[in-house]
């Protein structure tokens, strides 16, 4: 679901690190995105029951519900089946990337992220 014309693209970032959330918020908000943040997969899942976004950016290693679990749960329902989900992670193992792909991720970004590349990727998958 896309936002109306002239409405900012809404992004939900999911990361258990407060420092990473601060970096993401700065990079995305300063590029005109409306940023919402959750500190793990479970918090994101609960927030998405009653809220909508255009793009989800999620870490993999998180307590309670990790990024793989979040993607699988979102893809299992109809409401977020087509929502673009970008994985942003320190993981570089090919099997982890493959697992994210099979779970239904839209893309894979390796930390440390480049703010310009991240913003370009969000714009690309949001439309």
């Amino acid at each position: 679901m896309s936002t109306a014309p002239n409405q900012p693209t809404r992004v939900l970032t999911v990361d258990d690190s407060a420092s990473m959330r601060a970096l993401l918020n700065h990079a995305l908000a300063s590029s005109g995105f409306e940023v919402h943040q959750a500190d793990d997969g479970q918090a994101a899942l609960e927030w998405l029951v009653v809220n909508d976004v255009d793009v989800v950016i999620t870490d993999i290693n998180m307590p309670r519900l990790d990024g793989f679990g979040l993607i699988e749960r979102l893809r299992a329902g109809s409401r977020h089946a087509d929502r673009p989900i970008l994985v942003l992670t320190t993981e570089s193992a090919p099997e982890k990337k493959q697992r994210a792909r099979e779970a239904g991720a839209t893309g894979w970004i390796v930390k440390p992220f480049d703010p310009d590349k991240l913003v370009a990727a969000v714009r690309r998958v949001a439309h």
């Binding site: 258990d16 690190s17 407060a18 420092s19 990473m20 601060a22 970096l23 290693n61 307590p63 320190t90 570089s92 990337k97 792909r101 991720a105 839209t106 893309g107 894979w108 970004i109 390796v110 930390k111 440390p112 992220f113 480049d114 703010p115 590349k117 991240l118 370009a120 990727a121 690309r124 998958v125």
Partner: protein
């Protein structure tokens, strides 16, 4: 007099942690070691899981950068997260982590205080992540040698001759960092 067996602990296997590395161990035989000038080393351990790790970083940008001696927080947060994630993978729990910080010296008078800026970044990171800092030896003008037993969380930090500190080599992001792959 009866002969008694004397327990001699096995010699530690010393592993040097280089700038840009984050290493974790749950082996009581291993000891991490590093020498710091302006760089900062974070030692983390979980006393219940008996696992610990050390990273070693210098975040200052090169002087030719547009912002002068700023601090590249992206790379710092990445190296901290790398250390924490490796520890969690070996059974540590974030809320149980205890931290030590060492280094961050300003080795040459008249030069930008990059050691202080690295130390500030590390303190601020721990505060944001609510990781308890139990000991720090930061700042000053002396190089330091740090030996860390990851399983016990035991640290020995000594001043060493400035010549022993590695040369200032600002961090470069890994070549693979930031790459975007759309499926």
């Amino acid at each position: 007099m009866t002969a008694q067996a004397i327990h001699v602990p096995p010699a530690a296997e010393r592993i040097t942690v280089l700038q840009g590395q984050a290493l974790v161990s749950a082996s009581p035989r291993e000891e991490f070691t590093t020498v710091l000038g302006s760089c900062v080393a974070t030692c983390l351990f979980d006393p219940e899981a008996r696992v610990g790790g050390m990273n070693h970083f210098l975040l200052a940008e090169p002087p030719a950068s547009a912002t002068g001696f700023g601090v590249d927080e992206h790379y710092g947060v990445f190296l901290m997260e790398l250390l924490i994630n490796q520890m969690l993978a070996q059974g540590a729990i974030k809320s149980r982590l205890r931290a030590h910080l060492y280094g961050g010296a300003n080795m040459r008078q008249g030069m930008a205080p990059i050691g202080s800026r690295n130390a500030e970044f590390a303190r601020r990171f721990l505060e944001r992540e609510r990781i308890v800092l139990i000991r720090e030896d930061l700042g000053g003008n002396n190089a330091r040698r740090v030996d860390f037993r990851p399983v016990e969380g035991r640290v020995r930090c000594r001043s060493v001759a400035p010549a022993m500190a590695p040369a200032i080599r600002p961090a470069r992001r890994p070549l693979t960092g930031g790459e975007v792959e759309l499926f």
